[in-house]
Symmetry: C2
Subunit: 396 residues, 2 copies
């Protein structure tokens, strides 16, 4: 049989049976959506990924299983939306076929990986390692290890950056590293000292300009302007100098999400305080704060940048989302979603928000215009929520 | 044979033969990429769509043919990346299967359609009609006509907007219409008078906040704040009041692309003048202009918002792209790409730019870091360039 013929037959069969492949109730409701419709949800305890189909508004019957330790696991996507990648605390990196919804390649990259990024040109995957310290770089097509960039300590907060760079932070030495993924050997182009205090995580702004590092038990973060790495890292205070300030309040960065950068401002959840700090987006100076019902964990901007949605820690508050108006800086709505909200993300045009309520074992879809909960799906201990639009977003 | 078994067989066959389905040289180079890697290029004269695979850096052998009149045709994508949609000047709307790369449904929606949008919830497709005047709304799953919203004249510039709205402009009556796609019957919620001068096209800002209408033979545009439609449309001047100004210089909006909204500024190509006008993003006041080598056509922001890339009209200039630094407002680079550049777009993380050079029958891939041309592909009379990331972008 000629390959072309087999291919045509396969395509016809798949077209007629595709619904039963991916969904249990083909034809009864809206058909299962394509790759762009599939939101992957980490089920931490069972080390599995569930797939929520946004078009169909249901969890697909095919779960993906057999991962390593998925605590704090982040999923990233190939630029062509053919693959997903998950790095795990047991050091195993798994590739996921986004069409067939199954694991399609596992590599032992380290003893303990904490973070993952894909280069802007799509050719390289980088994982940040707790043990042994360093960065491992893999070929995105073959999954072969292309380079090991050793570090003297644990590495975290790895992101892609403009100019085909990777940026990460070395925890025990307090250094920000910029790695050039366009050059053979993946040289560390810059090693920049961060502010005082042990770094524990980092992020990049959505425009790829600033790399921000959080430090344990401090009231500041480090800020590196990636357009001018030669200027070094600045220290940015998360409170007004005139304010009474608990010096040992932890200023914690969320692990999975960015701070919300919206409408000329940066909204920073201060763990241990019942407020969001508000910084000026351009000068990074403190502008004030938004009082909240509890201790914020995540602040996520709506794609229109008109709102920031905030989740909380603590039994009293962790079932609520508060919606901040970015023009008035006031809380405009409080929505009860489910206990222990671990993660949330907007659909890319902002029509809906997907949130995991870990303690209630559910995934919730919220209409972002009416603030109504329009779908609730049972899941096992859900945490991170990862939509395919991350493939097209700097730093995700 | 049970459906599940057939499905599994089909999936296996497709996995082993997928390369030969889509590409001619499977295995020789990098494998053909997934849906996220496929850029669709309108070939106007042959009424076909060519597919450029970004991962593979080649045009796939499978062209899609049999469209209506593709002059000024815009392609939009379903939210789940299963389908593309093209509305044509002959009134035929075609749906394209993004996986199989073939037409999968044609509907005669009008005698002459000019523009197309998908609602933010993904359920509805709207086409703007020149003849008969009005908007046709189709069910995105079944392609059945769900409603016809008649207008007394030609309609253009249709976009999706937050709150599941469609916004468009009625040319001869000079009205901006806001249609509520969440309500049965698709009511026209607002009819707002635009500024003087015949509207000819419109756009929405990337945050979905402002709708901008261009008027023939004027030095102004209309601006509607969609958060406050009750305030009506404002007139925004494209020149300084103190400047000498040709009153009948056409202030032409590009048809396919937005003006470039970057770093707090709006960059407006003024057709007939050798400059970009620069407006303040928040107040919409005129700030100044950037002198250019010729008459600009498109201004496209890089995803990092650090640069705006500009194409030109006129034989002397239309083979060049000029790169503007959005911080200094100076031209930092001029790149020769090919004659009569009709359209261009960045890949979503900004690593590359894809441009069509119509008169040279070529598609060009530019490395946006080094400004080098790294791939040139022969195409037939290429014009519009449409990447799947449009599925995840407000207004595209």
């Amino acid at each position: 049989v000629k390959l072309a013929t087999v291919g045509a037959v396969a395509a016809t069969l798949l077209a007629t049976t595709g619904l039963s492949l991916l969904g249990g109730r083909g034809g009864e409701r809206r058909p299962a959506g394509g790759v762009g419709s599939r939101v992957f949800v980490v089920e931490r305890e069972t080390r599995s990924l569930a797939v929520y189909d946004l078009a169909r508004r249901e969890v697909l019957p095919r779960r993906i299983e057999g991962f390593g330790d998925l605590r704090h696991a982040v999923m990233t996507f190939s630029r062509d939306l053919r693959w997903g990648y998950v790095a795990t605390r047991s050091g195993k990196l798994s590739r996921i076929d986004l069409e067939r919804l199954e694991r399609a390649g596992d590599v032992e990259v380290s003893r303990n990986s904490i973070d993952i990024a894909v280069s802007q040109d799509g050719r390289w995957i980088a994982t940040a390692e707790y043990a042994p310290g360093g960065v491992t770089i893999l070929d995105a097509d073959t999954l072969e290890v292309a380079a090991r960039v050793p570090a003297p300590a644990r590495v975290t907060g790895i992101v892609d950056a403009p100019g085909n760079r990777f940026v990460c932070v070395v925890i025990e030495t307090g250094e920000i590293w910029v790695i050039d993924a366009s050059k053979p050997g993946f040289p560390v182009e810059h090693r920049i000292r961060a502010a005082s205090g042990e770094p524990y995580d980092a992020m990049i702004t959505p425009d790829g300009r600033f790399y921000v590092v959080g430090h344990l038990h401090t009231d500041h973060v480090s800020l590196l302007d990636l357009e001018h790495p030669e200027h070094g890292a600045r220290t940015v205070l998360l409170g007004d100098a005139g304010e009474l300030y608990e010096r040992d309040t932890p200023a914690k960065l969320p692990h999975l999400a960015s701070w919300a950068v919206a409408q000329g401002r940066v909204f920073v959840p201060l763990v241990g305080e019942e407020r969001l700090a508000v910084l000026d987006r351009h000068t990074w100076t403190y502008q004030g704060s938004v009082p909240l019902r509890g201790h914020p964990v995540y602040a996520v901007r709506s794609p229109s940048e008109r709102e920031v949605w905030v989740s909380f820690s603590g039994e009293e508050d962790d079932r609520f989302i508060q919606v901040i108006d970015t023009a008035t800086l006031a809380v405009k709505r409080t929505i009860e979603v489910g206990r222990r909200i671990y993660h949330m993300d907007f659909t890319p045009r902002g029509s809906h928000l997907v949130a995991s309520a870990n303690k209630d074992d559910r995934l919730v879809l919220v209409d972002a215009t009416t603030y109504e909960i329009i779908d609730v799906e049972p899941l096992r201990s859900p945490s991170g929520v990862f939509g395919p639009w991350r493939a097209f977003t700097i730093g995700l």
